[in-house]
């Protein structure tokens, strides 16, 4: 099995005026290609921080991050951007869709930054929207969609560029259990059918149990 994500000696220290928070403390972690991993732990234990560091949205205070064999600390803003574009797809708890763009334009965003021609963009976006069951909603704006639909748009956006890794931070946290189940179904299909590596933060034991591995955190430390 190929290691696709490897963290060594990761520390993340947040300094504010009053206090210092060690959000991550000496985290060593490796995730294989094709794995579906759940990250669990109490609120504030550093799960989101971990995911942001894996996703190259944030830099650790110390330690090395290697994604798909490339070390992140040495990369310039431009190559980080290209790397996020090609290798990573994010699904956020709050969806983070752009409200001023309609569904299909939101989904096309990752393709914009790799100069895919307009027609091809539309095709690819349509394909993933069909997959998440939203082909009939492409001209809607996020404010006109339900939470579950928004999250499906967000998943479509995360996978439209064919990234190897999908990072999902509580993707069902804002959804009721029925919609949550729909989202989980899509994620499992992406893992088993498309062999994508998925790292998902969740508070839901039942969801976690269905994944390949559970990583538990407590107070910034990996406990399992």
């Amino acid at each position: 099995m190929n290691t696709i994500i490897s963290l060594t000696g990761i520390n993340k220290l947040y300094r504010t005026k009053e206090i210092e928070t060690l959000a991550l403390e000496n985290v060593n972690l490796s995730i294989n290609e094709g794995e579906f991993v759940s990250v669990m732990g109490p609120s504030g234990c550093g799960k989101s921080t971990l995911l942001n560091i894996i996703g190259l949205l944030d830099r650790p205070t110390s330690g090395t991050v290697k994604i798909d064999g490339v070390e992140a600390s040495a990369m310039s803003d431009r190559s980080l951007a290209r790397f996020r574009n090609n290798e990573l797809g994010f699904v956020f708890q709050n969806f983070h869709l752009i409200n001023s763009l309609n569904v299909i334009d939101n989904v096309e965003i990752p393709l914009l930054y790799r100069n895919t021609p307009a027609k091809r963009r539309r095709e690819l976006a349509m394909k993933v929207l069909e997959r998440v069951g939203l082909a009939h909603r492409i001209n809607h704006y996020p404010s006109q969609l339900s939470g579950g639909q928004c999250q499906r748009v967000a998943i479509a956006r995360a996978i439209v560029g064919n990234p190897k890794i999908i990072l999902a931070d509580e993707p069902t946290g804002n959804l009721d259990s029925k919609m949550g189940a729909e989202i989980m179904e899509i994620l499992h299909s992406l893992n088993t059918d498309d062999h994508r590596t998925i790292v998902m933060v969740t508070h839901n034991e039942n969801q976690a149990k269905l994944t390949n591995r559970i990583i538990r955190f407590f107070d910034g430390r990996q406990v399992q």
């Binding site: 994010f90 001023s100 914009l112 930054y113 100069n115």
Partner: protein
């Protein structure tokens, strides 16, 4: 890279989501651009080739002359006398044509024999070369000839407005008798009108200066100015050298020394006048245009500073969107480009509005605005006409574009760059 359609849509979205801010921004840009464009229009009209002064790049002017008695008994200063015109300006090898104009171009009275009505006309008493130096387009008839001037014939060329006023149309005017300053004169030509803004060439009636009684009664100085059309391939310096040689020869036989302040001046020097040439007529260093550019820049930078406040507000509202785009592969430089171009669309809207505002401003102030920097204000009471070439010129459009670009960069580059350095995660969390 984001598509043009999306950029435009995104700019429009900004107008929708923050109409007050965008309206303020666009009006701010419009006002800033208006001031710059009013200045630009004034100097465009003064400097660019504008009918009938199409040859401004080849034109040169000789006006002030100082005459000093060689025995020190006196000094006088005005324009050239008729003798000086003959001695200095004949057979110039570096000029294609030399327009000689008498300064007596106060409104002349015109009457049609048998009618009681008294008309006024801004009148230029000049020579045939005037119509070579200035590209007056003849709608009917012909200019006066060297023969007319030699014989001192009372013939007149009218501009079309005056011809229409007197006789209804251009064709009907040709061959008609009029009385100019109570002297019987025959109309031989009608030209398409110039604008009173270009005072050097403007006239409603043009007559040979030899039609003025006593036109050659001479002193050491006189009433004549000259406008030269420099021969292609020759320079202003060739012309200067030639004229000063003529002056040296001419002065050697008389008891007066003439001094012409390093004239002839180019059109540029003539326009900028005392801002450009010192008392002795030496061009101050060619920084004048530079000064105007700096003034224009300040006129733009001061509002740009104020406008950047609005920009910061707008970008902060969009920090979530920016963070999302970054998460999915937008680089800082790519986003910077997007923000700048989007903002440029708004700036351009404001700049175009500013251009139209400046047209309105220039139109309503046209009677004084073009003489505001002139050392003497001409007494013409005819309202200066604005022609399309004065307002709709590629030069002016280019200046509007440049002004918009400067405003855009000055108001939004720093705020945009600063916002783009904001950490992604923090922006995402703030959006929550």
């Amino acid at each position: 890279m984001i598509t043009t359609k999306q950029l435009i849509r995104s700019a429009l979205t900004q107008i929708k989501t923050a109409p007050l801010n965008t309206a303020l921004y666009i009006s701010g840009v419009a006002l800033a651009v208006t001031t710059v464009m009013v200045l630009s229009i004034i100097y465009h009209v003064k400097l660019s080739p504008i009918y009938p002064e199409n040859n401004r790049d080849r034109m040169a002017y000789l006006q002030q002359v100082r005459a000093t008695k060689k025995d020190g008994s006196g000094m006088s200063q005005y324009y050239m006398s008729h003798t000086l015109v003959k001695n200095w300006l004949s057979d110039l090898k570096s000029a294609d044509a030399v327009a000689v104009i008498s300064d007596s171009d106060q409104p002349a009275t015109i009457m049609i024999p048998g009618q009681e009505i008294l008309y006024n006309a801004v009148t230029k008493f000049t020579n045939p070369d005037f119509f070579k130096v200035y590209d007056y387009e003849f709608i009917a008839g012909v200019p006066f000839s060297p023969d007319d001037i030699a014989a001192g014939r009372n013939v007149a060329v009218l501009n079309q407005n005056k011809a229409d006023e007197l006789f209804g149309n251009a064709e009907a005017s040709i061959g008609r008798e009029i009385e100019v300053n109570f002297k019987s004169t025959k109309v031989i030509g009608v030209v398409k009108p110039g604008s009173a803004i270009s005072a050097n060439s403007f006239g409603e009636a043009f007559l040979p200066y030899t039609a003025i009684p006593g036109y050659d009664k001479d002193g050491d100085v006189g009433p004549y100015i000259a406008v030269f059309l420099i021969k292609p391939g020759k320079t202003i310096d060739d012309l200067k050298a030639e004229i000063s040689e003529h002056i040296r020869k001419s002065d050697s036989t008389i008891d007066v020394t003439h001094y012409i302040f390093n004239q002839p001046y180019t059109h540029y020097e003539q326009t900028f006048g005392s801002a450009y040439v010192d008392e002795d007529g030496n061009a101050k260093d060619a920084k004048t245009l530079g000064y105007y550019a700096i003034v224009a820049l300040i006129l733009l930078l001061v509002p740009a500073m104020n406008l950047s406040g609005l920009i910061i507000g707008g970008i902060n509202r969009r920090s979530g969107e920016i963070a999302i785009r970054k998460s999915f592969g937008a680089s800082r430089s790519g986003l910077l480009w997007q923000l700048m171009v989007e903002n440029f669309i708004l700036t351009l809207l404001g700049a175009i509005a500013g251009l139209f505002l400046s047209y309105v401003a220039v139109y309503f102030s046209r009677q004084w605005i073009f003489t505001i920097s002139d050392s003497w204000v001409n007494a013409y009471d005819s309202v200066p006409e604005l022609s399309p070439e004065m307002l709709l010129s590629p030069t002016l459009f280019a200046i509007v574009l440049i002004a918009a670009l400067i405003l855009n960069i000055a108001s939004s580059l720093i705020p945009s760059w600063w916002t783009l350095r904001h950490p992604i995660v923090q922006s995402l969390n703030e959006k929550r």
